[in-house]
């Protein structure tokens, strides 16, 4: 039930609701409890109509690079 999906913020209205795009599907989410200030173009994880986390792009990329490096160099 704690399902959450990453989506990109398309717009934010005056009542603090955003339209997010999840791979073509658009949803309205409330930004009242998201953990950091967000803007159009940011990726957020949303759950039950609320954005709950701003994805740190650098952290996400760093993790993928780390895994790819381990695999590429066969450091098992």
């Amino acid at each position: 039930m704690c399902i959450g999906f990453p989506g990109i913020i398309i717009s934010i209205d005056k009542d603090n609701y955003a339209i997010i795009d999840i791979s073509g599907t658009r949803r309205e989410v409330c930004l009242d409890i998201v953990d950091e200030p967000v803007d159009v173009g940011d990726y957020v994880i949303s759950h039950a109509g609320y954005a709950i986390h701003k994805i740190d792009v650098a952290t996400a990329q760093e993790k993928l690079n780390f895994l790819q490096e381990l695999i590429d160099n066969e450091i098992y």
Binding site: M1, C2, I3, G4, F5, P6, I8, I22, S23, C30, D32, I33, V34, D35, Y43, I45, H47, A48, G49, Y50, I52, H53, I55, D56, T59, A60, K63, L64, L67, Q68, L70, I71, E74, Y76
Partner: protein
Amino acid sequence: MKYIDEYRNPALVEGLLTKIENASRQISCPVTIMEICGSHTYAIGHFGIRKLLPESIRLVSGPGCPVCVTSTRDVDIALYLAGMNNVIFATFGDMLRVPGTGSDSLQKKRAAGADIRVVSSADECIALSQSNPQKEIIMMGIGFETTAPTIAATVDNCRRKGINNFSVFSVHKIVPPAIHALIADPLLKIDAFLCPGHVSTMIGSAAYQMIPDAGCAAVITGFEPVDILEGIWMIMEQIVSGRKEVAIQYSRGVKPEGNTKAMNFLQSIFRVADAEWRGLGTIPASGLVFRKEYEAFDTLTKFPVPDIKSTEIKGCGCGDILRGIKAPQDCPLFKKICTPMNPVGPCMVSSEGTCSTHYKYY
């Protein structure tokens, strides 16, 4: 799909499987890992993770599905509330078919005429309340720390808007006390926990310190195949090295300190109280009830509920399955009279219930 496809990369999956296999060869005993998040239960089944792992690694499902752990008594109270006159009862869809006493359910109540609406966010109740001023809107407040702050934020929003025909029947539960209970269960022998991703987005990592303190490994893990396998590999590394800690695999979704803004909402509106879990019994300080200042939004304060005699479903193994001491296949009803089309117990209802997942994928 950004932040999803990258974590389904077959090359990364194969690399991680090799790492897990190499680590498992360094350990003489089998390893039992429990996931305590319904979305993990679903993902492990959906992606066929069990079949990919070495035989010495056993994955068991714990009480990670909020719908499944809701007690029969709380389902019965929901059925009573939904049947009251002049009420619109709002609920997340997962709850509709969960059986209460005598196999009654919200779905059956709705078929009999009750005004029960499925919502995907508590926020939808604001518009429902405003467009139905003559009705009482009751939201079934179900879910763990991921969902409870969204309900708290909705309550706060209603208070600011002056809405007074909305209330929440809170059966919210919090995860760490359940882990405490599982660790203390003499029938369970768990070596490690795959800790829930989005609960941890909210509560952070410190809340799980009792897991390494009890000698078990703990890794907060995401929901894609690469996430789950990396989480398992990180667990194996902890077991091989003997250094137990709470590690975060799902770093794109979880900060060590969690989401303090959301938790402040939760804590300003709810306080912890004892709660009854299906299968685990009453766990101290594991539920969320309204603080006095917000009692105007508490369904149970607003509408007195009569004594209801609740009885558990005969023969249903959900209780032991939720504790991880039985597999669905051990239940005499599984796949015989209990199926996703005709669920007898709650674990067969929700798509992330252990029985439903086993029915579909094993």
